[in-house]
Symmetry: C2
Subunit: 122 residues, 2 copies
DNA sequence: AAAACATATTGACAAAATTTGATATGAGGA
DNA sequence: TCCTCATATCAAATTTTGTCAATATGTTTT
């Protein structure tokens, strides 16, 4: 059993490593087979295989085996799922930006607010 | 100097670790100060500080210091930037899905195409 | 100024991710 | 069937991340 956080992390693991970002960029040009990706990336065959597994597990890339070759391409559905997930994960659940109602403020709310805006960078 | 891939990876590092996903979820409820996050997360102070640094570096979270407290909130601009980045990164640069024009197909294209669809899962 | 407090930083360690070389698997061609 | 080729998997080495305890920094309170 995997937590919801584990599942979400799996999606974004695709985008948090440089080699995988380069692979995704290559796939933007269309379907590519493993042998071409190895050549373009300049990495070992087993390393590519490792990264492709992570990419496919994320849902962002799909593979299809044609004879002895494996072809990879960006999954339209997987990409849109990731985009939607990112949107909902960063969406505020409250109006603009509620102030922190934390305990640390309670002891002496006065001094904290003394002419100092809670939000904003100044 | 950091590569474009390094910069992009930095953004999505925010979303590829479970603790950070939980922190982001907590921030969806609005501004939170570090002391509250420590309590809710059940992690050590230095661990929280470590994760918050990564989150702030990603641009997805902003911090503001109010006296001795540090407050964190989701950055509207940072989130939208991440969403936009994700969208452009997964966008096909070619019509639907071009077939691989790789060298490995060239030797004997015939046999590969023999009644087998290149794309599609069957 | 001294004490108390919140957070950041550091160094040591543990755990997870990545790379590499070797080998296994599975498919096509001889 | 045997050989060759493409990719996957494995085990070991290496690198990167994440955690913890201790300490530093900077702020408020007294």
């Amino acid at each position: 059993m995997s937590s919801i956080y584990e599942e979400r992390a799996r999606v974004f693991k695709a985008f948090c490593e440089e080699n995988r970002l380069r692979i995704i960029e290559l796939l933007q040009e269309g379907d590519q087979c493993a042998c071409v990706l190895i050549a373009k990336m300049g990495i070992k065959q087993s390393a590519l295989s490792y990264h492709m597994k992570i990419l496919v597990d994320s849902g962002v890339v799909e593979s299809n085996i044609v004879g002895k070759w494996t072809h990879y391409h960006i999954s339209e559905a997987g990409s849109q799922y990731a985009q939607e997930l990112l949107r909902t994960m960063t969406q505020q659940h409250v109006t603009p930006a509620a102030e922190c109602s934390c305990a640390c403020e309670k002891p002496d709310t006065q001094s904290i607010r003394n002419g100092v805006k809670i939000h904003g960078n100044a």
